[in-house]
Amino acid sequence: MNRKRYVIFIALIVFMLIVSGCNRSKDSGVNKGNDREIVVGLVSEPDSVDIHRTSSTGEANIPLYDTLLKQDNDGNIVPNLITDYEVIGDGKEVIFNLKEDAVFHSGKPVNAEAVKLSFERLVSSSPFSTNAGDIDSIEVLSDYSFKITWKDQFAPFFINATTPFLAPLDVSVLNAKGEGFEKNPSGSGPLKLVKVNRGDSLVYEPYKNFDWRGQPGFDSVKFRFIPDEETRILEFKKGNVHVLLDVPYQYIEDLEKDSEVTIKRVQSDTLSYLGWNNKQPIFQDVKVRQAIALAIDRESIIQNTLNGEAQAVFGPLPKTVFGYSEKIETMAREKYTRDIEAAKKLLSEAGWNETNKDGVVMKDGKEFSVDLWVDDDPANQRAAQVIQNQLMEIGMKITISVKEAATIIEQTPKGAHEMLLWSYGWPDADVLNFLLFGKDKSKRLHYENEKIYSILDKAAIEMKQDARSKLYEEAQEMLVEESPFIPLYVKENVTAIRNFESFEIHPINNTIDWPSVKVSK
């Protein structure tokens, strides 16, 4: 091949590559302007749409599923895929009666046998089977009736059954290995998955057999994954994205000035807290823990780091969680409203005094100096800086260490941390047991208190809701007094929308109420 032919050959290859790239793909992430198509912009793609294999749930995979029970707008648990249920005897057995008109996206009925198979897959292969409790057996009583028997009573089941983790999925679409759901998913939720563009978008259509309370108000929904904040905002401002989830706080004011944009605020169910490893000697004295609580000014953190888009929380549970008590919240607020002098006094009583006039308190020749772990979220880092300043006012020296979330998740159960800024979100007070303060379950706080263990264990098997609430109130009262962590705030989930006749977000679970969504004509 002479040189000229060689150059022509390379040029031809380059040209062909460019031409091949010129074809606009039908399902690309770029909006083509279909009037009845909704484009939702969000930060990241869920790990999987298979709810039995991922804890990463969000707007992009939740609508695939319909749940056995649901929470109404006031937080009450009401039937959804079931018509009713009956608790038998001591509560270890519950009979559920299913609606007879629910259908999976594959066209198969959501009957007792299908629900049983879904639960069996959950129990045998899902790492999230603890959400269903320790199930002994599931018995099909008739086409649309089944009985679950637990080894022990499991009171949180009913609220857990309002989350997608326990939603029935259609196991008939799985391959021989019991996998492949992510390529051929079938739930019974309002949206049916049409196309997966890995890394780019998930495309859904309204599922015709779902109860839409009339006709669906749109033809399709595309969830676009746009990780960069600025790019996401520009796409929304340009009109290519119609629903912008988790609007960064610094852009809210700007978006509110646009008359075509509506901002929706819903209080999140995720509580941010300042915690610490309670096994560390420095945090053993309750007076030290209470002093930290008294030194924290939540409003200042909220205003300086979240543009005021959050609600201060003083008690261990936020308002949207079952087990929340107004009495506890008031009690905690009265006890721990910021009081620097009282905090210093408590520290002094615990033996921590400023001796060498550098502003840092000391005890037995040792400075009060701790390392605060925070993830790489910019708002959390700013909050950590405010906390650092507030604690310095009572003589506590805080060093901030920014760590990847994956590192914090792995290291904190091992007790490698001293202090951390973290959060939790779960709709039931059992979170106090399985995540925060249960025996051998206190993953990040490492708090040990036999009395609290006992109350939380009792609450987990108490089937009467009133009695259960009372037990959680008792536990929370002790937690407020003991101050093993400091609840800080729940953020507002801010969503920006444009061109909708109606659009509602559930006030408790923060998900889009798809039957209410209607695009403007």
Partner: protein, 306 residues
Amino acid sequence: MSSYLFKRIFTMIITIFGVSVLVFIIIHLIPGNPVNHILGDFATEESIKELEMRLGLDRPILVQYFSYMFQAFQGDLGTSYITGYTVVEEILNRIPITAQLALYSIIFGSITGIIIGVIAAVKKNTIYDQLAMVLALIGISAPGFWIALFLILLFSYQLNIFPISGYDGFYSLILPSITLGLGTAGSIARMTRSSMLDVIKQDYIRTARAKGAGTYRLIFRHSLQNAIIPVVTLIGMQFGYLMAGAVVTETVFALPGLGSLIVSAISTRDIPTVQGLLLFMAAMIIIVNFVIDLLYTKLDPRIQYE
């Protein structure tokens, strides 16, 4: 030539093997593991152990490594712990976008860089030279995310010429390619200038000029052709930088390529995906540089591989 080829291919295999060992060690040294990511707040001691067993993470490290490499040599890079997709599937899904992005960036960077470099060399010590070198410096030093946002604001948001983000064929890759190619252009411009200046001083250029060769022929036929070898070497080396730069560019432009995949895989500690992707990228860089070495013989017949 054949013994050279044999030696190079052998070296390439050893290099890829070395990369695989390094990647494996690093991914196991950094804190955080996929089991904790998958289980999230629902992790219990039993569920962690059970999932580790299911994913094969409870086996000794050496067993995990050799089992991985054994499968890799058969073309199986494993299955993502997080998504359930095979790593080969993920790479095949996303490689077209990253490959196009790298290709267009190289084309843009090379053409722009060579033109700027030639102008700077020919107009040495004039305002054109200084301007060209300032442009090259900006290309090298301006952060990719800043250039990307600037281009988006100007050409997509204000002038409405290109899409803001997402993949939609060649058109949607123009701004990302410019973003990624600017750094390459800067480096190539500086290399072209210095290489051209060396060549221009040579006796044969003076001879050609004395024989009446025109400016165009003098620059492109006699000077640039002799100055191009170090530039081509640099283009090969830039391929590695482009792969790294693609991580930022793909994130800002929301392009579903290999760069954005590796970011999410690292944050979720998805070991098979990270390993597979890094091995693949390393292999690509090694192969591209190998091809460029072979190109030398075509560009300069004096170069012979014995």
